[in-house]
């Protein structure tokens, strides 16, 4: 139930509403909870509301961290068993 899907804001419609593109499907969602969201932003949509603006920089930072992970694990342990 706590599923939220990334969607791109296509248009601001006033009254706290916006039109978004969710994987090619157009939907009207509330941006009451993300008043800072603008056209072009990606938001996480849960049950008809944007609940957060997805930060693409953080997405890239996370990917970079994940790529470093095996090296970190290897450095800390004397012998790799895998």
């Amino acid at each position: 139930m706590c599923l939220a899907i990334p969607a791109k804001i296509a248009q601001l419609d006033g009254d706290g509403m916006a039109t978004v593109d969710i994987l090619g499907v157009t939907r009207s969602v509330s941006i009451d909870l993300t008043p800072q969201a603008g056209v072009g932003d990606f938001v996480l949509v849960h049950a008809g509301f944007a609940i957060e603006v997805v930060d693409p920089d953080y997405a890239q930072e996370t990917i970079d961290l994940i790529k470093e992970f095996p090296d970190l694990a290897g450095d800390e342990l004397p012998a790799a068993t895998a």
């Binding site: 706590c2 909870l33 056209v39 049950a47 509301f49 609940i51 997805v54 996370t62």
Partner: protein
């Protein structure tokens, strides 16, 4: 380091973003993390609980349980809102459905959950009005389009969903809607998690914390788990790489003897959460004791509508007469939700209780542990 300011807003082209998001399904990234988990896993073993029902499904669908080293056990927690809703609350919704002129507006999962003697689906078959909604906003639209009917929205869900319902109530107040109300059975996670980490039979070593609850709350409400109970936790997302990264970060904490609450889902969770959503919850709701299926009464773990918004409280508006509670015979959902048994250990599992003919809520909801185990194991 993540900044304290609310957001860096940046217009991105859809292609770049899709590529970045696709990386969280990338088998190559997953392989590196699986390898790290294998290297870091404590020899004495570890039991991790995935708290969130959406994680239970992600773990089952992607076969993540089978990728774990033998010493690592993943156990499923109480994070399916429909599943933890008490029989009494379901009976209350059924009683509301029986009031003339009331239309129940609800998320789909709720319609099939058996109460003591009925379900919303059975009530619908008997001629009561039940409408399935994707969003609380759909319930508002129903109320606006049907001024001669009373629309009662069934508010279930954790911190992720609670602010949406708070906003719907605020919108109803602003619109002056007289025929919209909410049956509020919202819950928050921290008290339930405390009950679980204190359970001496479970011996939990770490928690995989729910990503979209974290989106709203940030890490603060979970800090006590690390500080007071020494339980590491990582808030993570729902793609396979997110889940594996969360587990790898937990393994690193266990390996280094640390207990902290970390975020593996930085693109969706800020350390401070979503302040607008938190303020909306606080404006419309106050915390109260809630009854959880399997976990019992937990002080402060429920949300009730504040006096200022009492006109939108369906219980106050209709004061329904609720039938005496009868729990389904032989159903072990309570033990499953408490992680005292796996779904397959329930004598009814797959024999009497199936998704087509569910006895308990954990088999009804697509996020219920029993339904996930039925489908994927």
């Amino acid at each position: 380091m993540q900044p304290e300011n609310i957001h860096r807003s940046r217009t991105v082209d859809a292609g770049t973003m899709q590529n970045e998001l696709a990386a969280f399904k990338d088998p190559k990234l997953a392989r590196g993390l699986i390898e790290s988990i294998g290297k870091l896993a404590p020899e004495e073993g570890a039991t991790l609980m995935e708290v969130c029902g959406t994680h239970t499904v992600a773990i089952a669908r992607n076969g993540i349980r089978n990728l774990m080293p033998e010493s690592v056990r993943l156990s499923s927690g109480p994070g399916c809102p429909v599943c933890v809703t008490s029989n009494r609350d379901i009976d209350a919704v059924i009683a509301l459905a029986r009031i003339p002129n009331v239309t129940i507006a609800t998320f789909g999962d709720m319609t099939r959950v058996p109460g003591s003697t009925s379900s919303l689906l059975k009530e619908q078959a008997a001629g009561r009005s039940v409408q399935i909604c994707y969003s609380p906003l759909d319930a508002l639209a129903l109320a606006k389009a049907n001024p001669d009917r009373q629309i009662v929205f069934v508010g279930v869900g954790f911190e992720t969903t609670t602010p949406l319902v708070a906003m719907a109530i605020k919108r109803a107040a602003a619109m002056g809607l007289k025929n919209f109300s909410v049956f509020a059975a919202h819950k928050n996670m921290p008290g339930a998690l405390e009950t679980l980490v204190k359970d001496p039979d479970l011996k939990l070593d770490a928690l995989i914390l729910p990503g979209h609850v974290g989106t709203i709350t940030g890490t603060k409400p979970f800090e006590f788990l690390a500080k007071e109970y020494g339980i590491p936790g990582v808030v993570t997302g729902f793609e396979p790489v997110d889940v594996l990264q969360g587990i790898a970060m937990i393994m690193r904490q266990l390996h280094e003897g640390r207990a902290e609450i970390e975020i593996a889902y930085a693109r969706g969770v800020m350390p401070q959460g979503n302040p607008v959503a938190l303020a909306a919850i606080d404006e419309v709701f106050e915390t109260c004791t809630a009854t959880w299926r399997g976990l019992g009464d937990i002080p402060g773990s429920g949300y009730r509508i504040r006096e200022e918004f009492a006109q939108f409280d369906a219980l106050k508006r209709f004061q329904p007469e609720i039938e005496p509670t009868i729990n389904p015979k032989g159903c072990r959902c309570g033990d499953v939700l408490r992680a005292r048994m796996e779904p397959s250990e329930c004598p009814l599992f797959r024999k009497v209780c199936t998704p087509e003919n569910p006895v308990g809520p954990c088999m009804v909801s697509s996020e219920g542990s029993c339904a996930a185990y039925y489908r994927y194991y």
